[in-house]
Amino acid sequence: MSAQRGASSVESAGPLRAECRTAGAPLLDVRALVKRFGGLVVTDRVDLQVRAGEIHALIGPNGAGKTTLVAQLAGQLASDRGTIFFDGQDVTRLVAHQRARRGLVRSFQITRLFRSLSVIDNLAFAAQAAGRGNFAAWAPARDAVAGAVRARTVLERIGLGARAGAGVEQLSHGERRALEVGLTLAGRPRLVLLDEPLAGMGAEESAAMSALIAGLRADCAVLLIEHDVEAVFRLADRVSVLVNGAIVASGAPQAVRSDPAVIGAYLGEPDPP
């Protein structure tokens, strides 16, 4: 793996490497991924591994290319070079819905909900989208029991149990963010890419969301893109740091926190507003 040279040595220094070997192939294995916009290299030979059941945080200053990378991983943006393996299979050439159907689902930094559907129908649709029955045009949707049960479960889990029948426009910002994350969970994904789920949240909402994310380990792996560094170090099993489109460090939170390259590039700066 050539691009290992780009990362610092924290990964090989820590005990995590041995663990990685015993755990077998990672769920998501990104190799030397590149994205250019004209002459600008936005994603610069990124290597990234996310294992089943872990919360892997991706941090980096504004403009580091985090959201671009998420779009490449989820399939909204085609990559110029490099390979994305998901569950051992090359998904680099698959489009977004094909990746989602395999269990690789993203959330969005700017909330994207279905405004003509109620909260519960947003979730019921999300539960159905990655499965079968999207073309069932005769039977009433409410008769699809499995999807309805799943939607209700996720609804309770994201704390919107009392808001089932509400329209999306009636929700508060925090509730909308919760539903945004809920949509990605409804289809039983194997890996969720959460793009800044805590952005713009109050302290209470932020704590609830953190608890929700922490509880996801049992269901799926998480690649958490987040600005709130303190939250990241509380939640993540491993952390990767993206600066100018390249991974400058990757490893256990404590190791990354003390990595000189990271401190120089990112943590030394004052928190963004």
């Binding site: 989820a74 909204q76 489009v95 977004a96 819905h97 989602a100 159907r101 689902v105 993203r106 969005f108 994207r112 909900l113 279905f114 405004r115 003509s116 559907l117 129908d121 019921a124 649709f125 999300a126 159905q128 989208a129 990655a130 499965g131 029955g133 999207n134 073309f135 069932a136 045009a137 005769w138 039977a139 009433p140 949707a141 409410r142 699809a144 999807g147 949509l183 990605t184 409804a186 289809g187």
Partner: protein, 309 residues
């Protein structure tokens, strides 16, 4: 029984009783107008599926109506009158055309989609102008009509009316079922936010293509009925102004309401009929009505009357 279902059954009963009432009033002439309303309501309902439910603004939908009319018209002029043949050929021809056009057009969005559907429709318009064997730019007149089982014949105005009514009722039932189904919910989500729906695993392109093809086929069936009503189809049936008229019907009636296409077709045709008796500038006055609806009743006439979206 829900209010919605009661309204539907009430309207159906009125539609069934209409020919008898017209006859009693000595106004049999209006039966063919009523039949025209039913045919246009079917065409407008198919565009309502595409535009109101699917969010796809096509400016070429009349091409499918015209194609269906030509498919049936050509069969009639060749002496083929069996209803099975007409149904099979119309569905096949229009379905394949919609599949081919949709496969290209649905790769674009917004104003580009409007333009590309317009371009395809105009191509078919000029094609229909150039088929000299079937009337060319003069249009195709046919004397025969589709024959039905038990000796019934679409030449009979009363038979035609009830056949058109039955087809429209079937289309509306299918549309209502679709709207409440998982596919309907998927299409609704797609209309709200295609990128997000796709990110959740929905094969968006296939969904849109399915809606596009079904809408095209239903429009084609309306066209086939139309040529059997008028005994005539000309290239003008495919012209973009006809597509525009269908759009006006759907927006007037209420895009995305079950009854949108029906209400729009009925009001527009009756308005035209009424105004044409007083002024040749009826288009000017219907324009004002459309303007009022767009400004003051965003959900159209069906929305004004309390129909659910």
């Amino acid at each position: 029984m829900t209010r919605r279902r009661a309204t539907a059954l009430g309207l159906l009963a009125a539609a069934i009783a209409l020919p008898g009432l017209l006859h009693a009033a000595g106004a049999d002439f209006y039966l063919s107008l009523a039949s025209r309303v039913l045919v246009d309501a079917l065409a407008a309902t198919s565009l309502n599926l595409l535009l109101g439910y699917g969010g796809m603004v096509s400016l070429g939908h009349a091409a499918f109506v015209g194609l269906g009319a030509y498919a049936s018209g050509v069969l009639l002029s060749e002496g083929v009158t069996g209803v099975g043949w007409h149904l099979a050929v119309t569905v096949l021809v229009v379905g394949l055309a919609a599949l081919a056009i949709g496969a290209v057009a649905l790769r674009t969005r917004g104003v580009y989609f409007i333009m590309i559907t317009l371009a395809f429709a105009q191509m078919l318009y000029y094609l229909s102008n150039s088929v000299k064997g079937y009337g060319g730019d003069e249009g195709l007149s046919v004397r025969a009509r589709i024959r039905l089982p038990f000796g019934a014949d679409l030449r009979d105005g009363l038979v035609f009316y009830y056949v058109a009514l039955a087809v429209l009722v079937i289309a509306l039932v299918l549309l209502a079922r679709f709207a409440a189904s998982r596919f309907g919910r998927a299409v609704q989500a797609l209309r709200d936010d295609e990128l997000r729906a796709e990110a959740l695993g929905l094969p968006a392109f296939a969904c849109k293509l399915a809606v596009f093809v079904v809408a095209g086929i239903v429009a084609g069936i309306a066209g086939a009925l139309g040529v059997n009503l008028q005994g005539y189809v000309s290239p003008n049936a495919l012209h973009w102004t006809q597509s525009g008229q269908l759009l006006v019907m759907v927006i007037l009636g209420g895009a995305g309401s079950l009854w949108g296409g029906v209400a729009g077709a009925a009001v527009l045709l009756l308005l035209q009929e009424l105004l044409a008796a007083y002024t040749e500038y009826w288009g000017f006055w219907t324009g004002w009505v459309l303007l009022a609806v767009v400004l003051f009743a965003r959900r159209g006439l069906a929305g004004l009357l309390g129909a659910r979206p």
